[in-house]
């Protein structure tokens, strides 16, 4: 089975700037893949090279086994891209936009599928509205719809939820998860780390044109994140000096960092020996934001 997306030694330069630096990446069919990184990391450039919008200086990209340069007809047919910018054609209605997009892919009568997409994105009522009259969130949905008209096996979304309200975000995720369950490969970039954490099976973190971490989401969290222990002591109890050194005060709570669960035991034993009584305790899960910040900082040093 061909990889959904295969990137080999991909390099793209803009003058002096190296936007993509010998990227190697393989995304399997059926994956829900996240592409994370600060602004300017090269995420959009990478996505554009999947679509043949950017001509790389060297390296290759294949979509479902079809080379983006030499077999562009098939590679483009296999790919649906939701661009980052909120672009639209002000001359046409939502339905016209989607009918044209179908036609560009050689699909003549596509209204049944168009209606289904519209319904899933809560756009049915806007089908005959001019693009110009839609709100930003609505335009974003139409962009998603446009990427789906030709039922591509691989769907790439470049910051699909940037500047989008909570309600739409949920509608969108529900639909995209369904597409993923039906076998579509999903690749997305996002700034909302909790979103990537809850949706993506695997994550690549990019910085300055390089992939600096690539792993299953759970493994990334295990590898890089620390756990947080929050405790509330009985009124008047004083935290032992050794622990207080690394603890952080949050209101009545103390916040402690640890890496392995065995360390909790030791900590509690120390507290008991110091005569402290723990009134309340919770263990916080590691989150992707922490991983992200750590990785970005580590790379800078």
């Amino acid at each position: 089975m061909a990889a959904a997306i295969q990137v080999r030694q991909l390099t793209k330069r803009y003058g002096q700037l190296v936007a993509l630096d010998q990227i190697d990446l393989e995304i399997q069919q059926g994956e829900f893949f996240g592409l994370l990184g600060p602004n300017g990391a090269g995420k959009t450039t990478l996505i554009s090279s999947f679509a043949g919008l950017v001509a790389p200086n060297s390296g290759r990209v294949a979509i479902m086994g079809h080379d983006v340069q030499t077999d562009y007809q098939n590679s483009r047919r296999c790919l649906g891209v939701v661009p980052q910018e909120l672009v639209y054609d002000p001359f046409f209605t939502v339905r016209e936009t989607l009918q044209f997009q179908s036609g560009y892919y050689g699909i003549r009568k596509n209204d049944a599928w168009i209606d289904e997409i519209l319904a899933n994105l809560d756009l049915t009522g806007k089908a005959d509205t001019n693009m110009r009259k839609l709100s930003g969130g609505m335009k974003r949905r139409v962009l998603v719809a446009q990427a789906l008209v030709h039922r591509p096996p691989v769907i790439v979304l470049d910051e699909p939820t940037a500047g989008v309200d909570v309600e739409l975000r949920q509608t969108l995720w529900k639909f995209i998860r369904r597409l993923n369950e039906e076998g579509h490969t999903i690749v997305l970039t996002t700034h909302y780390l909790e979103e990537a954490e809850s949706q993506c099976g695997r994550i690549a973190m990019m910085k300055a044109g390089q992939v600096i971490a690539l792993d299953r989401t759970s493994a990334l969290l295990r590898r890089f994140a620390t756990h947080t222990l929050r405790i509330t002591l009985r009124n008047g109890d004083v935290l032992p000096a050794r622990i207080a050194e690394t603890a952080e005060r949050r209101g009545t709570q103390w916040q402690l960092q640890f890496e392995r669960f065995e360390q909790i035991e030791q900590m509690l034993a120390e507290l008991r020996n110091a005569g402290c009584v723990v009134e309340d305790m919770e263990v916080g899960k590691p989150d992707l934001e922490e991983v992200f910040v750590k990785l970005m900082r580590a790379e800078t040093e």
Binding site: G52, L53, A55, V81, D89, F91, F100, G103, Y104, Y105
Partner: protein, 251 residues
């Protein structure tokens, strides 16, 4: 084929939806030229013995409208799509560069024809017209419009901003079309300016087109056809190379 037809239909619908701006306005402008120039000049200028100046003027104005609007269509469509970013909608699908070229050029020819026919019908009312060789009329209209539609593609690809395109239009297209014998016969010019004019390809389009109406012209229609055809093929070759390379489309 479907992708080509869709792109063509989209391009035609694009200008048709704002027809007052893309068809009615240029047609009105041509009629105003007709009205003013024929009123001012008809008693002073005699271009050909057998022809009134008002009649002489009509084919030139019709062709000028065809050419300017064919250029405007492809160039403004491309620059708008590039500036607003929606060009990506036609870059993502597997549309071949040949289909891309054909769709934009044919849409330009259609717009040129629609405006040209409007001007022709309206000005016919001012002055009698003959159609001595309708085939020549058609050949020059199609070829001229396709040439300018192709030039519009090249200009639209090259320009990054609206003002660059406006400069192209104001400093190249306008002078070439105005100084092409629309309002006069080149034989009425001093010899030096006749020589300069003979390097203007638009002159051959206008003159050949006019021949189709009256059967008289400054230059033989065959010579006009050769010049226009060669220019068309050169520009088409250039446009196809640019599109194939994704010039300023795929960075």
């Amino acid at each position: 084929m479907t992708s080509f037809l869709t792109l063509l239909y989209k391009e035609v619908l694009r200008f048709w939806k704002v027809g007052y701006q893309t068809v009615a306005a240029p047609a009105l402008a041509a009629l105003l030229y007709q009205l003013i120039f024929s009123h001012v000049l008809s008693t002073h200028v005699k271009v050909y013995e057998t022809l009134s100046y008002t009649s002489f003027l009509i084919p030139g104005l019709v062709m000028m409208s065809v050419l300017q609007n064919a250029f405007a269509n492809s160039s403004s469509s491309l620059i708008q799509s590039k500036v607003t970013g929606n060009i990506v909608f036609v870059l993502l699908p597997p549309i071949s560069y040949g289909a891309f070229y054909a769709a934009y050029v044919i849409a330009s020819v259609i717009r040129g024809f629609v405006v040209g026919v409007c001007v022709l019908l309206a000005s016919w009312w001012f002055s009698p017209l003959t159609f001595v060789a309708p085939l020549w009329i058609l050949v020059f209209a199609v070829l001229g419009a396709a040439l300018m539609g192709t030039l519009g593609i090249i200009a639209g690809l090259w320009a990054d901003k609206f003002d660059q395109l406006a400069a192209f239009q104001n400093f190249l297209i306008m002078p070439l079309t105005f100084l092409s014998g629309v309002f006069y016969s080149i034989h009425s010019l001093p010899e030096f300016w006749q020589m300069v004019s003979s390097y203007n390809p638009v002159l051959y389009m206008i003159d050949g087109f006019r021949y189709g109406f009256f059967g008289i012209s400054d230059i033989s229609p065959w010579r006009c056809l050769s010049v226009v055809m060669i220019c068309y093929l050169l520009l088409t070759g250039l446009a196809l190379i640019l599109l194939k390379r994704g010039y300023k489309l795929r960075s």
